[in-house]
Symmetry: C2
Subunit: 383 residues, 2 copies
């Protein structure tokens, strides 16, 4: 392992830790929340504005980008960073999750997955090797392997078949990475993360965690959670998975992004998060606050001239009231989504920054309890 | 006339002129393009961003604001400026145009207009005096009278009936303004603009222009043009109207906002413009450029890594390519509307700023010819 990831300090009372990820586009303090920019844009925000909000890395999605605008165009543009003019880091998901969600529109075999475009119905094929190559071609800073993500099930055969295939593909992915790296400048090595599947069966999870840990990945992701199961089960499987994983590598929980969930995952040692929730709820009129999630559609906000969150110092909270944002939302004005997106993303950046400070002070456990007790109590009361 | 409007210089070869409008929220250089913020937001742009783009005044619309969020709420918020947190000037239209567009949903009589809400069907009534009071209550810097705006017609009776009613209402509006001003601090006088109607019949237009000019208004607007007629006719009637108007007062052409049209109107001495076009075409994928209007949907822009307009220095043109914006538009991403709105508004601000410089140098006539010849030639070629 070279200096791609450094652990700076570990909280004395939990597995929470502060680290530093180093990519060709900058250093990223962990724990980190990564906004989702599926189609080369974080929805409803000018992503150049994210610099001033403290965002060091965003997500892209190979599956979506492959279909539109396409790999060839992204290559012509000089890569995804150039195309969208984002100067910091980009992690791209392989699109495994998206492809496997296309029920009836895809076929899996040992060599990969065949799928139809949701745009024009055309037929395409992704092999584990293809997705590494495509992500390398578009200039991704952190590349995810192709994995098989299954819906929630307790079926052992379905779970272990998908897990085994994911592990086979992981080996192929590493070979592809090494082959591509052999032709690259040593200072510009591709960074590829393996993904732990294994569903909700602890033995399978453990086997996957140990297998992926035994391979030469640059980082490790936990996939196949947050697929509709109960939150308590998510965290039970996460804790079990994390405890069987090589802890010297960065750990990324794919698709988790609610404030309380992030605190739980950090507690178990997760370093990286992504989730569409902060941007998606913005377009539906909701806002995270330190006192729980609120929905601006609620009648009582019509006359409420306070900011969304009195403790927040984001552009939206400094400039606009709940009453105004409610009016915009009710009038179906785009500015409602824009202002809520700014607030909800800033809330996430501030939350993980606060976590990093609490970890440094060995006070993360107490902070987590306090935040959750206020957040979740009011969450039930308000939303 | 006090120092509300000052004429700074008049172009030697045309009626174009530079002036300064002074409101309680700042000084506004004219000619000025005013972005339309109908419902307390300029669509798809964070209006606080408009400060840095050079916008000194925006529009609001009483009719829309009266229905949602309502006058009472705006009063509670401390006025429209406070509600939307816009620190510069606001001109509010009375909503005459909107009400009279509600065919079958409104009844006009001498005392005003009864109309149904497009939101919930409820019944409302605006008298000429009401609309002045409402606009004063929400803190408008420039208040428009209630007028009767008719669709395109050559019918003398329809035209002169609407004109006569508009003139009667203008008298009532002035009485209301004076009554309200008598109770206000002399430094905070309401500013009310009269509106010249008279359709497309020159005698009626002349009569209206002279009548409104003879009243003690703070400014004069030309209404009832740009209602679907041929552009040459618009300009013929405008020239005729302007030549019969008191030229010591600011002249506002309501609802004109395409680049070439603005140059023509400035030529005839118009000082103020508003139009939804720059923001509306943004949400439909179009962009003004110095070489004509382009539509980003056009296939050739897929591979075009140039900015929307090579001569433009707006945020969008400094940071993003046509190919990227096309991708966003095709993917139905909100950012497409956001980036195009920034560009198209900046284009308008830059255009009127350029006009002000050319007027100062007595070179406006040549500039207008040059701009129009390039813009209109390519407009036909590209769009």
């Amino acid at each position: 392992m070279d200096n791609f990831f450094e652990i700076k300090n570990i909280d004395k009372n939990t597995d929470a830790r502060n680290g530093l990820l180093k990519t060709l586009h900058g250093n990223i303090k962990t724990p980190v929340y990564m906004p989702v920019g599926t189609k080369a844009t974080v929805k409803a925000i000018d992503h150049t504005y994210l610099y001033s909000m403290g965002s060091e890395i965003i997500l892209g999605n190979l599956y979506h980008l492959y279909l539109q605008p396409g790999i060839e165009l992204l290559k012509k543009a000089g890569g995804l960073h150039n195309f969208m003019n984002w100067k910091k880091s980009i992690l791209t998901d392989s699109g495994g999750f998206q492809v496997f969600s296309l029920k009836g529109m895809r076929k899996i075999n040992e060599s990969g997955v065949e799928f139809r475009s949701v745009i024009d119905g055309s037929l395409h094929f992704f092999s584990p090797s293809d997705v590494i190559k495509f992500q390398a071609q578009i200039g991704s800073d952190i590349i995810m392997v192709l994995d098989e993500c299954i819906p929630y099930t307790r079926d052992i055969k379905i779970t272990s078949d998908a897990a085994r295939r994911t592990l086979d593909w992981a080996q192929i992915s590493l070979k592809t990475r090494d082959m591509l790296n052999s032709e690259r400048d040593p200072g510009k090595k591709l960074r590829v993360f393996g993904i732990i599947q294994g569903g909700f069966i602890k033995d399978v999870r453990k086997f996957c965690a140990e297998s992926i840990s035994g391979m030469d990945f640059d980082g490790i992701a936990v996939g196949g959670l947050s697929v509709g199961e109960d939150r308590q089960l998510t965290m039970e499987i996460l804790a079990h998975t994390a405890s069987n994983t090589d802890r010297s590598k960065p750990l990324y929980f794919m698709g988790l992004g609610d404030p309380a969930g992030i605190l739980d995952a950090i507690y178990y040692g997760v370093d990286m998060f992504d989730c569409v929730m902060p941007t998606r709820i913005s377009r539906m009129g909701s806002a995270f606050t330190n006192e729980g999630k609120i929905n601006i559609k609620n009648k009582k906000y019509s006359n409420d001239f306070h900011p969304l969150d009195g403790k927040c110092s984001c552009h939206t909270c400094k400039n606009f009231s709940r009453a105004y944002i409610k009016h915009l939302y009710k009038s179906r004005e785009i500015l409602a989504s824009m202002l809520l997106t700014i607030h909800n993303l800033q809330f996430m950046f501030d939350l993980v920054e606060k976590c990093r400070k609490e970890i440094e002070n060995n006070s993360f456990a107490r902070f987590r309890e306090e935040f959750k007790s206020i957040y979740e109590e009011n969450h039930c009361k308000f939303s």
